[in-house]
C-alpha cells in the first residue's frame, strides 16, 4: 500500500506541474531531452550506434548474414528486429522469454524501418529465391529512462546508416554500405489529463494515462503509429501529438544529418 501512496503523490506532482507547463526535469512539455549519438561503438557488429536521450541509453547493433528469402519475395533481403530489455537496464525488467513490452518496442521500431522502405531490400538479393542478405537489428537497452521506442528507433536508424555489408568476407564481391532510402524517426508523447508531453522519462511513462508514438519519414509522412496504455485520446489530442511529434522528429533528424 505504501508504494501506491508514494506513486499517487508523484503522480499528483507531475500532473500539477504539467498543468503549469512544467516537468520534473525542468523541460517544457514539447521539449525533448538532450540527444547524444555515438556511431559504431561496437566493432563486432556490421553497424552500430549508441543513443542517449537524457538518461535513457540504448545500443543497437546490426549483424548481416546470408540466408534464404521469403518465398513470396524472392528478390528481397530480409530483416528482423529484436529488443532485449534485461535487468541491466532496469531492475524490474526480467530475464526469460521476451515480455509483451519488449515485443511491442521491437515491433514498432521494426514497422518504422520496414514500412518506410528505409532499406532498399532489392539490393540485398544475392541469388533470386535462394540467397539474400539478412539484417539482424538488435536493440539492447543499457539504461531505461523512458521512451525506449524513441531512443531505440533513433539508434536503429543511426546503426543502419553506418552498416557495411561484409560481402568480401563471404566471397561475393566488394563490401558496400547498406542502401538507405529513407530516414524514419519515432517520437513518443504521453498524456497527463489534458496535457501532452513529448519524450517522456520513465516516471512520466509510469504515471501517464497513455502514449502515442508516431514515426515520420524525412518527407513528413507517417510511417508507423502506436498507441499504448490504458487511457484514451480525443481526436484533438491526437492532432496535437501528430503535430508536435512531427516537429520533434525533424529536429532530431538533424542530429544524424540524415536525409537532408
Amino acid at each position: 500500500m505504501r508504494e501506491e501512496v508514494i506513486a499517487a503523490i508523484e503522480r499528483d506532482h507531475i500532473y500539477r506541474s504539467a498543468s503549469q507547463g512544467r516537468r520534473l526535469d525542468g523541460r517544457a512539455l514539447d521539449e525533448h531531452r538532450r540527444v547524444e549519438i555515438e556511431v559504431n561503438p561496437i566493432k563486432t557488429a556490421e553497424g552500430s550506434a549508441r543513443v542517449r536521450m537524457g538518461n535513457a541509453d540504448v545500443i543497437v547493433g546490426v549483424k548481416m548474414a546470408l540466408g534464404a528469402p521469403f518465398p513470396d519475395r524472392p528478390n528481397d533481403g530480409v530483416m528482423t528486429t529484436v529488443a532485449e530489455l534485461r535487468p541491466v537496464a532496469y531492475q524490474y525488467f526480467e530475464t526469460g522469454p521476451p515480455r509483451p513490452e519488449s515485443i511491442e518496442i521491437a515491433r514498432v521500431i521494426d514497422r518504422g524501418v520496414r514500412e518506410s522502405k528505409m532499406i532498399d531490400m532489392a539490393k540485398l538479393c544475392v541469388e533470386e529465391g535462394v540467397k539474400v542478405w539478412v539484417a539482424f537489428i538488435d536493440i539492447h537497452a543499457i539504461n531505461h529512462d523512458g521512451n525506449l521506442i524513441g531512443a531505440g528507433g533513433l539508434a536503429a536508424l543511426a546503426a543502419l546508416m553506418n552498416t557495411t555489408v561484409p560481402a568480401k568476407q563471404f566471397g561475393i564481391g566488394e563490401d558496400f554500405p547498406l542502401p538507405i532510402e529513407h530516414y524514419p524517426i519515432p517520437v513518443t508523447s504521453v498524456k497527463f489529463g489534458s496535457h501532452i508531453a513529448v519524450d517522456p522519462t520513465a516516471i512520466e511513462e509510469t504515471v501517464a494515462e497513455c502514449r502515442l508514438t508516431t514515426t515520420f519519414d524525412e518527407e513528413g509522412a507517417l510511417r508507423a503509429m502506436q498507441k499504448g496504455g490504458d487511457g484514451a485520446f480525443t481526436r484533438a489530442e491526437i492532432d496535437r501529438i501528430v503535430s508536435t511529434n512531427s516537429e520533434v522528429s525533424n529536429t532530431i533528424r538533424k542530429y544524424i544529418g540524415a536525409g537532408t
Binding site: 511491442e104 519519414d217 507517417l222 508507423a224 498507441k227 480525443t234 491526437i238
Partner: protein
C-alpha cells in the same frame, strides 16, 4: 466505394460455458470472443489491490490462414493481445472489482484482413454480454490506402497490395480513441481523411453492436 464496409454479421450469447460471448463474421473473417469474469486472479501476487485486470488474449486457429499457423502465441499475437487489453481496460469500470481478473479470449477461426478490429469489436460485445459494467462499447475499424486512394476496411486482396493500414478502436459514445496502430505511408492529409472514414464507419458498426445486444436480450425477455 472507398467508404464501404464489408458485410458484417454479429451474434451475441453464442457460447454455453462462458459468462459472455459474441460471434462476428466480417468480410472473410470469422471470429469468436468469449468472456469470463470477474473472477479471482491467480497467482495472487499479480492481483491489483484496487482494481481488476482486463486481459484480452488474441489467438489465431492453425487453419485460419493460408499457410498453417503453428499453434501458440507468436510475437504478432502477443502485441495484438496487449493493445486490445489496454483498449478494453479503458472502458471497464475496473475499480469495482479489486483483485479480480476479467478475461476475453478472441479466437480467429477464419482470417481475412483486419482481424484485430473484428476481434476487438467482438471482445467488447462479449464483455457486455457478460454483464461487465462498462462506460461504453469499443468499436474498431481500419482504413488503408490502395494506390493513392484512402479506403475503408480493406479486404484481404486489397490489403496484400495496400500501402497503409490504420486500425483504430473508438468508444463511439464518447469519441475516445483507445486503440491506434498504423504502418505504411500516409501524409497528414491522408491520415485525416482515413480518420474521417473510420469515424463514420465505427458509428455504423456501433449501431450493429447495439442491435446484436438488444436482439439477445429480447430473445431472453420473451
Amino acid at each position: 466505394m472507398p467508404d464501404e464496409l464489408r458485410p458484417i454479421r454479429m451474434e451475441v450469447g453464442v457460447h454455453r460455458n462462458a459468462d459472455g460471448s459474441a460471434y462476428v463474421e466480417w468480410g472473410e473473417n470469422k471470429v469468436l470472443a468469449v468472456a469470463y469474469g470477474p473472477r479471482e486472479l491467480h497467482p495472487k501476487h499479480k492481483q491489483h489491490p484496487l482494481k481488476a485486470l482486463v486481459q484480452c488474449i488474441y489467438n489465431m486457429a492453425a487453419f485460419s490462414v493460408g499457410d498453417r499457423k503453428r499453434p501458440g502465441p507468436d510475437r504478432r499475437s502477443q502485441e495484438i493481445s496487449k493493445v486490445c487489453s489496454e483498449a478494453l481496460t479503458h472502458v471497464v469500470f475496473v475499480e469495482e472489482f479489486p483483485k479480480a481478473t476479467i478475461d476475453v479470449y478472441v479466437e480467429v477461426l477464419q482470417a481475412g484482413a483486419g482481424t484485430r478490429c473484428v476481434g476487438l469489436t467482438a471482445a467488447s460485445l462479449a464483455l457486455a454480454d457478460a454483464g461487465i459494467p462498462m462506460k461504453g462499447l469499443v468499436t474498431a475499424c481500419a482504413a488503408g490506402k490502395v494506390g493513392d486512394r484512402v479506403v475503408l476496411d480493406l479486404s484481404k486482396e486489397e490489403d496484400n497490395h495496400g500501402d497503409a493500414d490504420l486500425p483504430v478502436g473508438i468508444v463511439v459514445n464518447t469519441g475516445e480513441v483507445v486503440l491506434m496502430q498504423m504502418d505504411g505511408h500516409l501524409t497528414k492529409g491522408e491520415f485525416d481523411e482515413a480518420m474521417g472514414l473510420i469515424d463514420g464507419a465505427t458509428r455504423k458498426i456501433y449501431e450493429m453492436q447495439v442491435a446484436a445486444l438488444k436482439c439477445k436480450y429480447q430473445e431472453v425477455g420473451e
